[in-house]
């Protein structure tokens, strides 16, 4: 049953991939959605049976790579963490599949799109269900591949093709870290199965654990778009919006968080790695949020917002609150998925327009989209009692309680900014006066039902996702469900932090204060956005010109892309060209570099003006040619010279007795 979860989408992908172009064409969605739906059902089935009997188990398929003593199986692990992820992935995935039917309708690569999407589901499910690191890595790279394919789905656009390549390459850098971590783990444990590694993790030295932790986090940086490897995610918005929702918001980008949570046992031994992770997370959150403040492209804002929210998740994991991180991962999947889908609905309605300056007042034309979008905005901004509030607040609280006051401050500030830019987005898009081009205005329409139904379902989840599994969430079902998977870490954390846990059992005054701060931040952001964009729409422009330097800096995203380009990419290419020159001239030349002198001296003697007629062998050839020329010039044609050479030969032989130690 577990095997079916990834297998079904794989089949769907294969069918659509092989036969889509010729035979299936417009009906590709039946295959894809069917496969995904069945996969979801399988996940639900597994999940419920797991709930009945909450005991982790592994399902072995076959031996994948076996070279003594390395044995790696294709096997699945069913435990709370993987089940939660599987549910999120298949659930959200299924919704987005449905959404895509409407969204991608009429696209030339319809079957291709669904094949990729199914392939993505397979890879992602392998990633979350894997029972060992290598299989996880397979999924990890697999989702990268699908991300590449889907970002570049409209490959006729150069920007899309570039973005796809960038995504894959940046991810590969991260993957390099991942795989090195994998080697370190194997070197220590002689196994790559999670279970074996976790049971031996306590024996890791701090240094090793830190190295592994940081390398794994490098992998996560790539996949989950953290500084400095976040640059691909904003560009990834070149793909279809449904893809952005599924891959670049709800599922794939959160793989890093999942992976970190999966390795909690190792991180527990590496406080330095944790601190590093928390700091990176917090800085990323703030950094991305600040960029999001001024972006005009609706998807770009959402993209930076995703980066920022992912920063939150790593902050959470970094301070040891893995469960909170996972919780936020789940709620984020709901509301960010919803936001993207909503924006997709808008873009769809506007015929591809993504600039918010050409939107406004869309509420009237597309009520369902507007309503669900508003819900999602409220959720992400952290307005209680929506889902986002609970998870975000929990992260901030955990950060504060674990003693990272500065990080908490950053987090709170980010929350304020999040609220501001999200409401800015909401107001600019759906409220206020319409700035839509006139020729587009009368085309405006609400999206078809395949789009609105997923929106509604996600909206529901965004509202209740936080409290549905129990109130307050900290003591709710999810936490109870997840903590066994991360129990080892709690154990370790107790050793590390002593009694840090004790406050979690009741809503203390501290909790309430922190909660108030985050609500306050959210509301402040809301109010500011309201003032700026609904009451005084001229104000943002004025501020922008007044704070021109900051605005330019933010608007250009700190020029990070440009810096990367000039610091890494261009020099690398230059190096490549240099090396090529070297290859053309150098290596063959080096071989006889020393002998060149001989050639030179031969040339100097003036008689030789040889062109290399055949040009057949480069420099060695030339060298021999020179010698050839010298040697054959000895052959003067004069008989007496020949006789002289003979006589000299005899004389040399005769005198050699003085040099050869030979005794009569």
């Amino acid at each position: 049953m577990v095997a079916l979860i990834p297998l079904l989408p794989a089949l769907g992908a294969a069918v659509n991939g092989l036969f889509g172009r010729r035979y299936i064409k417009e009906n590709a969605h039946w295959v894809a959605v069917g496969a995904c739906g069945l996969s979801f059902l399988a996940a639900v089935f597994t999940f419920t049976s797991f709930l009945r009997e909450p005991q982790s188990y592994e399902v072995r398929m076959f031996e994948w790579i076996a070279v003594d003593p390395l044995r790696i199986e294709l096997a699945f692990l069913v435990d709370p963490l993987s089940m939660l992820m599987a549910m999120v992935v298949t659930g959200v995935g299924f919704l987005i599949h449905i959404y895509s039917i409407g969204y991608m309708h009429g696209d030339g690569g319809y079957h291709r799109y669904f094949a990729y999407l199914n392939l993505f589901m397979t890879a992602m499910l392998l990633l979350v269900l894997a029972n060992n690191y290598l299989l996880m890595f397979l999924g990890w790279e697999g989702v990268g591949l699908c991300s590449y394919l889907l970002i570049g789905f409209w490959f006729h656009k150069d920007s899309a093709a570039n973005a796809a390549k960038k995504a894959f390459l940046v991810n590969r850098i991260g993957d390099a870290g991942f795989i090195l971590a994998l080697f370190l783990i194997y070197g220590q444990c002689k196994s790559l199965v999670f279970h074996d590694v976790m049971s031996q993790a306590h024996a890791f030295s701090t240094g090793l654990a830190t190295a592994i932790g940081i390398l794994l986090f490098v992998g996560a940086m790539g996949k989950s778009a953290q500084i400095p490897l976040y640059v691909w995610l904003p560009d990834a918005m070149e793909g279809p919006t449904s893809v952005s929702a599924l891959i670049h918001a709800a599922t794939m980008v959160t793989a890093g968080v999942y992976m970190v949570a999966r390795n909690s046992a190792i991180y527990a031994l590496a406080p330095a790695a944790l601190n590093f992770m928390a700091s990176v997370g917090a800085i990323t959150a703030l950094f991305a949020a600040s960029i999001a403040l001024v972006q005009r492209d609706i998807k770009k804002v959402l993209a930076y917002s995703t980066v920022s929210q992912l920063g939150y998740m790593f902050l959470s994991c970094g301070v040891g609150a893995y469960v909170s991180g996972m919780f936020h991962l789940m709620t984020h999947a709901f509301f960010k998925g919803l936001l993207f889908l909503g924006s997709g609905s808008v873009i769809h309605a506007l015929g591809g327009e993504q600039d918010m300056q050409h939107m406004g007042g869309l509420r009237k034309h597309m009520p369902i989209t507007a309503a669900t979008f508003t819900i999602a905005t409220l959720a992400i901004a952290g307005i209680p009692p929506l889902a986002g509030f609970w998870s975000k607040d929990e992260i901030l609280a955990e950060t504060f309680k674990n003693g990272h006051k500065l990080l908490w401050g950053i987090g709170a500030l980010t929350a304020l900014m999040t609220s501001f830019y999200m409401f800015r987005l909401l107001f600019l898009t759906f409220y206020g006066k319409s700035r839509v081009h006139h020729d587009k205005e009368h085309h405006l329409h609400e999206s078809p039902r395949t789009i609105t139904i997923p929106l509604s379902i996600l909206a529901f989840l965004s509202i209740f996702g936080g409290v549905l599994p129990g109130f307050p969430p900290e003591r709710g079902w999810i936490h109870g469900f997840l903590s066994p998977a991360i129990s080892s870490v709690h154990h370790a954390k107790e050793i590390l932090h002593g009694a840090a846990e004790h406050g979690a059992h009741a809503l203390s005054l501290l909790d309430l204060t922190l909660m108030a701060v985050s609500i306050g931040a959210a509301l402040m952001g809301l109010a500011a956005a309201w003032y700026f964009y609904l009451i005084r729409p001229a104000l943002p422009g004025q501020w922008a010109s007044r704070l021109k330097s900051i605005h330019t800096l933010l608007f250009n995203k700190y020029w990070v892309d440009e810096i990367y380009l000039s610091v890494f990419v261009r020099p690398l290419l230059k190096l490549c060209n240099r090396l090529w020159d070297f290859d053309l001239q150098g290596i063959d030349g080096i071989v006889n570099g020393a002998s060149r002198v001989a050639v030179k001296s031969a040339e100097e003697s003036g008689r030789f003006d040889l062109k290399f007629i055949d040009g057949v062998i480069n420099d060695i050839g030339k060298l021999f040619d020179k010698w050839h020329d010298i040697l054959r010039r000895w052959q003067t044609g004069f008989v007496q010279n020949y006789a002289l050479v003979m006589v000299i030969g005899v004389l040399v032989l005769a005198t050699s007795m003085f040099f050869i130690p030979y005794h009569f």
Binding site: I613, D614, V616, I617, G621, F624, D625, W627, H628, D629, L631, R632, W634, Q635, G637, V639, N641, Y642, A643, V645, M646, I648, G649, V650, V652, L653, A654, S656, M657, I660, Y662, F664
Partner: protein, 490 residues
């Protein structure tokens, strides 16, 4: 030398006698045949060589091959070389026919001189006595001078003859002086006796004489086999001489002189083995390098072949330097293997000659594969064999040589050797390139028609090269056996 001729079976002299009679017939009675019977001339020559070959072969198991006549040995070593020389002679006759009729110079003297030179060579390899050797050598040399200058009307041929003669005669003087000193040191001309006496020599004066005679003989025979630095005549003579003559000289006179060199040095200079091996080693290295580098960009294929034959002598000397047992049998092997490819290439030059106009540049080979694929294939096999690429005989020859060199510890020399053969690949492959990868140079290049005799020659040579390359065992055994007969002499 107060020997009365013993009662020996005349059959041991049959090969030489057959050839002599045939040569006399050809030279003196050629006029009688007139021009109408051109086929007869070459047929007489060819079949007498075949008959001689048969007689020589039948001597292989001759029961008492030690000192039957004191100055004329019929040991397996001699027979092996006689057979090789007769093969060379036969092939030369086969390839000459077309060339001579093309240039309208087919005369009895030509074949007669070829046979005479062969007789000289055969006497050389049978020589058990310095005087016999000298006589054989001069018989060969005088005939070759004339052959080189055979095209009287051709400036280049005459010049080649003149140069060959002047230098050859000069060299005879050197060899003779070496022999005189050797005689002075030992008081005998007989090699076997010399061997006995030399091992007992102790007086410094005698040793010094021996030493200088060694130097002179190295130079003298070095000249004959065209080893650096005594090689200078070879390129000019081969280029100028008529093509079949060049083939004959580069294969025959070299092989014969090498045979004598091995015999004289191993037998007479056993005392100095290490010394002359060292010299030969140096000469070998120089020769390999020089020959190959000088051949590198020759556009005249004949001249290129001249240099390449110098280079191949270098390889053979490598074997000689590597000791008596394995090294010398490798030399025998190589000499045999080399002759086919070498004559084959000269033959291809003959084939290209059109209406008496020599086509000797690399460019003349262009597009040969389209004009005559089989010939192109054969030439490729010859070239591969010369380079030493399996599955040709040349590979086995080189392999065995390098094996001997490694065995006796001449690693550096072996490295030089293998690198030199890599260099040689370059110029050999240029011909392959021209044949297969370039368009025919002249537009009227119709399909080439090899004459029957040339066709036979080509087939024989290709067959032998491939057969020896694939299954060299018998030849190796043959070479070893013939060499072991030298030891019986000593």
């Amino acid at each position: 030398m107060n020997q009365t001729l013993p009662n020996f079976p005349l059959s041991i002299l049959y090969p030489e006698m057959i050839l002599t009679i045939s040569a006399c017939v050809l030279i003196f009675l050629a006029r009688a045949f007139a021009r109408a019977h051109k086929h007869t001339l070459s047929s007489i020559a060819f079949f007498s060589v075949i008959a001689a070959m048969g007689c020589a072969g039948s001597l292989w198991n001759f029961p008492r091959w030690e000192n039957l006549i004191e100055f004329f040995l019929i040991d397996r070593y001699a027979i092996f070389f006689k057979l090789v020389l007769l093969v060379i002679c036969a092939l030369t006759i086969l390839i000459s026919k077309r060339f001579l009729s093309d240039t309208d110079t087919e005369r009895g003297e030509y074949y007669g001189l070829i046979l005479l030179a062969t007789i000289g060579m055969m006497i050389m390899v049978s020589g058990a006595d310095l005087i016999t050797i000298y006589l054989g050598l001069e018989t060969m040399a005088i005939a070759s001078y004339i052959l080189a200058a055979y095209f009287r009307s051709d400036e280049r041929s005459s010049e080649a003859g003149l140069k060959y003669f002047l230098l050859g005669a000069f060299n005879s003087g050197i060899i003779l002086y070496g022999m005189a000193l050797l005689y002075g040191a030992t008081g005998t001309f007989n090699l076997a006796e010399m061997h006995r006496i030399v091992s007992g020599l102790s007086g410094p004066a005698e040793l010094r004489l021996l030493y200088f005679s060694l130097i002179l003989l190295v130079a003298g025979f070095g000249f004959k086999i065209a080893a650096v630095p005594f090689h200078m005549w070879a390129p000019d003579v081969y280029e100028g001489a008529p093509t079949p003559v060049a083939a004959f000289l580069s294969a025959g006179s070299k092989t014969a002189s090498l045979a004598v060199l091995i015999r004289v040095f191993t037998v007479a200079f056993g005392l100095f083995t290490e010394l002359w091996q060292l010299w030969i080693a140096y000469i070998s290295g120089l020769t390999m390098l020089f020959g190959n580098i000088a051949a590198l960009r020759q556009t005249n294929v004949k001249r290129m072949l001249a240099y390449s034959s110098i280079a191949h002598v270098g390889y053979m000397l490598l074997g000689l330097a590597s000791g008596i047992e394995m090294g010398s049998s490798a030399v025998l092997m190589y000499a045999f293997v080399y002759l086919f490819a070498n004559i084959g290439l000269f033959a291809s030059l003959i084939l290209l000659t059109r209406n008496g106009v020599p086509k000797e540049s690399t460019a003349d080979f262009s597009g040969l594969s389209r004009r005559h694929p089989l010939i192109a294939f054969a030439v490729t096999i010859f070239l591969l064999s010369l380079t030493g690429i399996p599955p040709t005989a040349g590979f086995i020859g080189k392999f065995y040589l390098f094996m001997a060199a490694v065995k006796s510890g001449y690693i550096k020399l072996a490295v030089v050797g293998v690198l030199a053969s890599v260099i040689s690949l370059f110029y050999y492959m240029r011909i392959v390139m021209a044949m297969y990868m370039e368009k025919p140079a002249d537009t009227d290049a119709a399909a080439l028609q090899p004459s029957t005799s040339l066709g036979y020659a080509f087939s024989i040579m290709v067959f032998v090269i491939l057969a020896v390359g694939i299954y060299p065992g018998p030849l190796l055994d043959l070479a070893r056996e013939s060499l072991s007969s030298i030891k019986i002499l000593s």
